[in-house]
């Protein structure tokens, strides 16, 4: 009851359920919440005791204005010595409790991360996430951008790299933060325990658009994950209508192909998010805009107005080209 009350108080801070460190949907986050609760209880008790002692001392001092101090402090009162011993013991017990709880939490996290069954490599760029699933059969690996799908209950190891500056990988509902540092490999372990849609966020200032560098995380059942993965392995569908064909032609022969990759087409750029399954994502441009037709129009027509300073240029597309491009992009499910 006390725990729920504390949590309720803390949740008043306004974090939504999809991006909160108090969600507990991942093993590491659940451990964190437990640790946090124990610390809160121990420290609150200590705080209240200290405050009480302070109040009592001040109150008693008020009542007896002129007190002659005995030079022999030790023998002044029969209460002080046992009180001090008791206080020291309380502190020792409290610290020991905190240390032990910390130890058990670390051990639990290490155990959860020791035998990963799924491996990802996440490469951070300014200001998007390049996500690759490393499969033992390399021809079945999947590359996507700005989203992660995970099967529930399966321990995951994520290798973290950066192509430019220091970023930080943080999915608060699942685990703590881990930096992505250019020139180094770091790693994070995830063990999602509850299905749901969560939001990750870059947690290290990385430039103008650091605030719009989010990650859509979907934790789903194993069957749903396999279905999603199988769909991701497909190459892009062939355009059917004339408008889609016009868009396909523009994308593969003009500016888009210099940076973006669409598997199964001649657009093979590696320096921008992979678009092969663009329309199946929940958001555009790493959480900047929700995925819908109007937003796709707005993004493709003028990305600089939505995310100024990001590396996708505003081309100044003609209206017909824009219609075709959006029509084709919407087929990339």
């Amino acid at each position: 009851m006390r725990r729920e009350g504390l949590l309720a108080l803390l949740c008043l801070s306004g974090c939504s359920g999809a991006q909160t460190a108090f969600g507990g949907q991942g093993a590491e986050d659940a451990n964190f919440i437990q640790l946090f609760t124990v610390f809160m209880i121990v420290c609150t008790v200590m705080y209240l005791l200290v405050s009480a002692a302070l109040i009592v001392a001040v109150w008693r001092r008020r009542r007896t204005a002129m007190v002659v101090e005995d030079c022999n402090h030790q023998a002044t009162s029969g209460v002080v010595r046992p009180a001090l011993i008791g206080w020291t013991a309380l502190i020792a017990i409290g610290l020991t409790a905190l240390t032990l709880v910390g130890f058990f939490t670390d051990r639990s996290n290490a155990r959860n991360g020791s035998h990963p069954q799924l491996k990802l490599t996440v490469t951070a760029n300014q200001w998007w996430w390049d996500v690759e699933y490393d499969w033992a059969d390399v021809s079945k690996s999947v590359r996507t951008a700005n989203e992660i799908h995970l099967p529930v209950g399966i321990p995951v190891e994520v290798t973290l790299k950066s192509n430019d500056v220091i970023h930080s990988f943080w999915i608060p509902n699942l685990a703590g933060k881990q930096d992505l540092i250019p020139g180094r490999r770091t790693d994070a372990q995830l063990l999602p325990r509850k299905t749901g849609l969560y939001r990750g966020q870059c947690a290290e200032f990385c430039g103008t658009q650091h605030a719009q560098m989010a990650l859509d995380v979907t934790v789903e059942s194993k069957a749903d994950f396999e279905k999603w993965y199988g769909a991701q392995l497909q190459t892009a569908p062939v355009p059917k209508t004339p408008l889609q064909l016009a868009g396909y032609r523009y994308i593969t022969t003009r500016e888009c192909a210099s940076c973006h990759n669409i598997s199964g087409t001649s657009a093979g750029g590696q320096v921008a998010p992979d678009l092969t399954h663009f329309a199946s994502r929940r958001s555009i441009a790493a959480g900047t805009l929700p995925m819908n037709t109007g937003n796709i129009y707005g993004w493709v027509a003028d990305p600089q107005s939505q995310k100024p300073g990001n590396h996708m240029p505003t081309i100044g597309l003609k209206a017909d080209d824009l219609h075709g491009i959006v029509a084709y992009l919407e087929t990339l499910k």
Partner: protein, 182 residues
């Protein structure tokens, strides 16, 4: 002068100084290509000295602009310029750090070379890069010869480092005989 007046004057002066302290103008959007994409690229190669056409007004906006140079540095690696021109020394492609420019070494002439392509292997990047990206690339290429201002050039190279960063190298004087620049 009373202390109060002196202090408030000092404060006002400080505020004014800070307010005017824009490092440079940064345009994120650039001027988008309109319907007439070819309008920006006149042929500026001409015989003899003098008679140089007036420089494109965008030259002042991109030349020596730190953010354009930084973007250009990123694009230089991403668009594989480095595969032929290496980091200015040349290889399959010509050297970009010397004073020899067969098709002109002014920033707008470099943009024209990127846009139109050149014989012996330089691809034409028109419709593959936006104008703004070509100007950013050209601004970066202009720094490869070490002539650019130290507060504009990039302090960090993204590649294997053989040389000190440009912010710490001495600027070599341009020998008139070596340079084809007009």
């Amino acid at each position: 002068m009373s202390l109060r007046f002196r202090n408030s004057t000092a404060l006002l002066a400080l505020a004014a100084a800070l307010w005017g302290c824009n490092r440079e103008e940064r345009q994120t959007r650039g001027k988008p290509l309109g319907e007439t994409a070819t309008a920006a690229m006149p042929d500026t190669v001409y015989p003899g000295t003098g008679n140089a056409p007036a420089p494109d007004p965008r030259a002042a906006q991109y030349e020596g602009n730190a953010s354009a140079i930084a973007q250009g540095q990123m694009l230089y690696n991403q668009m594989n310029c480095v595969g032929c021109h290496f980091h200015g020394g040349g290889g399959m492609g010509v050297a970009l750090m010397d004073g020899k420019w067969r098709y002109g070494g002014r920033i707008d002439q470099i943009v024209a070379s990127i846009d139109q392509g050149r014989p012996n292997g330089m691809p034409a990047w028109r419709h593959r890069l936006t104008e703004q990206q070509m100007w950013q690339l050209a601004a970066y290429v202009r720094t490869l010869s070490g002539q650019e201002r130290k507060d504009a050039v990039s302090a960090r190279a993204d590649e294997v480092s053989n040389t000190p960063p440009q912010t710490q190298t001495k600027r070599e004087p341009l020998m008139p005989a070596d340079s084809d620049e007009q």
